[in-house]
Symmetry: C2
Subunit: 337 residues, 2 copies
């Protein structure tokens, strides 16, 4: 993220300590495992979740003791663990422009690799010295898994209420954003109102972040994203842009085309291209990405969540730190990767 | 376990509370998930790990408060989570005479189901109110995953030192037995020497238990075991009976037969029978099971570990409780299921 975003300046040194802690974890692991994790960690990512925890902490505590570094490492390691299992489940071969663990390892080893990361993240959470943090941490993992399972059982159901989409992206993304900010506040002994404000900020930021992710999955540049577009639809998952697309295209032929494409995919009747794609879904992904009304409506919702996130900061001490979190909300909506 | 084993009398009521806690977890989960977990929990198992935690606690604390029930539930739920992923990785369709989760669900859903159980087990661990327990808990999961990954990377290596086998069964089984006993002692504020003695007892008991498991995998009755025999060898995993078998059959034709069988399995050249088995490995499994010297040598090692476990009890308060743990060590070696 070369945007010069102020949040990263604030947390730069602490994030380096988080990075170091995660690298030490890799070096302490069984050879092939450690190497694979270094590859995963080295592939970057925005580190927004640990940065959020670090920033939330800073409002009410000055320096960065070991326990807040442990929290940030716990959050990022948990996030990485869920990505390892997600990529395995989705059969995704690329993320952030690098090969995924499942692209290199057997399914079984990838399952265990993710489990190992869960174990380490739980250990880091315990290092914070706060049972409340551990409890929130465990509960967030429960929410994430529960949401993914519900999504999996709902896959291929095209007519879903918008509330289901919201619940899903809360579980998938906003829950950990919100928990990261809240746990940072807890470690800093923040007042209860501030803890709630930071949780709410994290929640709305996470919702905005995921909606933008879902938009980029239709309109993003594969080279910039580092992964193929349209992956949600290929998995049978309805996201917000497609929700609006369906709303504007209720005519039977659209649905028929969709169902046909879906049927082709499931039955494997249409020989996939050299990149493993079938034509029907590709056409549909392009149609959604070019549907300006659907994309604009989804972007507006992301903006609304970001706006709400900023408002939740009102009760926190004013200053550069608060401004940095407000800027982050704007950045999350404006980003193209 | 209808052996009238005294340990279960001691812990009967507490184990029922553990059972209830786990059932409540199922009822609180997403429908299909809850049902699947009820099926898993209903399939029984010996509940040795939670019983160990409960018994260790009883030496130094009289009643069973919520936190020790939470610990026992954490231990059993963690164990169940690792079984869910193990069965997925091994492609096992039966356990304890019932279908496994992966026999009913997709791979992806099974991965997430296991993850969900990890999350719940971590939450239960936090409910104990002891950060030390959470840390031991997380570290034990790390040891288990690390051991399984090492085993996976070593699969198909037939000439392994016996130390590798010991390390593997420590990671797979004894680590959680030992941790369960130690965490029970910690929650009861047991003296340091007693905490160590209970850890050591759990360790040796777990080692004995796993060696007997590995023997039963060759000589057990499938109907009683509730799963096919020879599964370790089919996975390319060397266990103690096979270690002794190889030691006694160094002649080239045995190894050749083995390698041929292995080659057949890997290449899929030999059409599997209706039960999915190839003949070569079946012959080999029978040969090992009928090798009285190999089986006896392995049994002797299990007995030695059980004996050592009993000796570690010497420093603990004498009485019915200590006798029950001693009897448990004998039972673990004598069992046929």
């Amino acid at each position: 993220m070369s945007s010069g975003l102020a949040i990263l300046d604030f947390t730069h040194e602490d994030l380096q300590r988080v990075e170091l802690k995660m690298r030490e974890m890799c070096e302490g692991a069984f050879g092939p495992l450690g190497e694979a994790f270094l590859h995963l960690i080295g592939s970057g990512g925005k580190r927004l979740r640990p940065a959020l925890a670090l920033m939330a902490y800073r409002f009410y505590a000055a320096d960065g003791p070991d326990r807040i570094i442990a929290l940030a490492a716990a959050v990022e390691t948990l996030h990485t663990a869920t990505l390892v299992h997600d990529d395995l489940i989705d059969g995704a071969l690329m993320r952030r422009g690098k090969t995924t663990l499942n692209a290199q390892w057997s399914k079984g080893a990838t399952v265990l690799g993710g489990d190992y990361l869960f174990a380490r993240s739980a250990g880091f959470a315990a290092e914070t010295g706060s049972l409340q943090v551990v409890q929130i941490f465990a509960d967030t993992l429960r929410i994430i898994c529960d949401g993914e399972l519900r999504q999996m059982f709902a896959n291929g159901q095209w007519q879903i209420p918008k509330e289901s989409y919201y619940r899903r992206i809360f579980a998938k993304t906003a829950s950990l954003f919100a928990a990261a900010a809240r746990m940072g506040a807890i470690l800093a002994d923040a007042p209860a109102a501030a803890e709630q404000a930071l949780y709410d900020y994290g929640y709305h930021l996470g919702m905005a972040f995921q909606i933008v992710d879902d938009i980029l999955d239709f309109v993003g540049d594969e080279a910039v994203l580092g992964k193929p577009v349209g992956s949600d639809l290929r998995q049978g998952t309805v996201t917000l842009p497609f929700y609006y697309f369906l709303e504007a295209h209720p005519e039977p032929e659209s649905v028929a085309m969709l169902l046909e494409a879906d049927h082709e995919r499931r039955a494997g009747h249409v020989p996939a291209g050299p990149d493993g794609r079938s034509g029907g879904i590709d056409r549909l992904v392009r149609m959604v990405g070019q549907d300006a009304r659907a994309i604009t409506a989804a972007r507006q919702e992301a903006s609304d969540f970001a706006q709400e996130a900023k408002q939740r900061l009102d009760g926190l001490p004013a200053g550069e730190l608060r401004q940095a979190l407000a800027d982050l909300a704007d950045f999350v909506v404006a980003r193209d990767t």
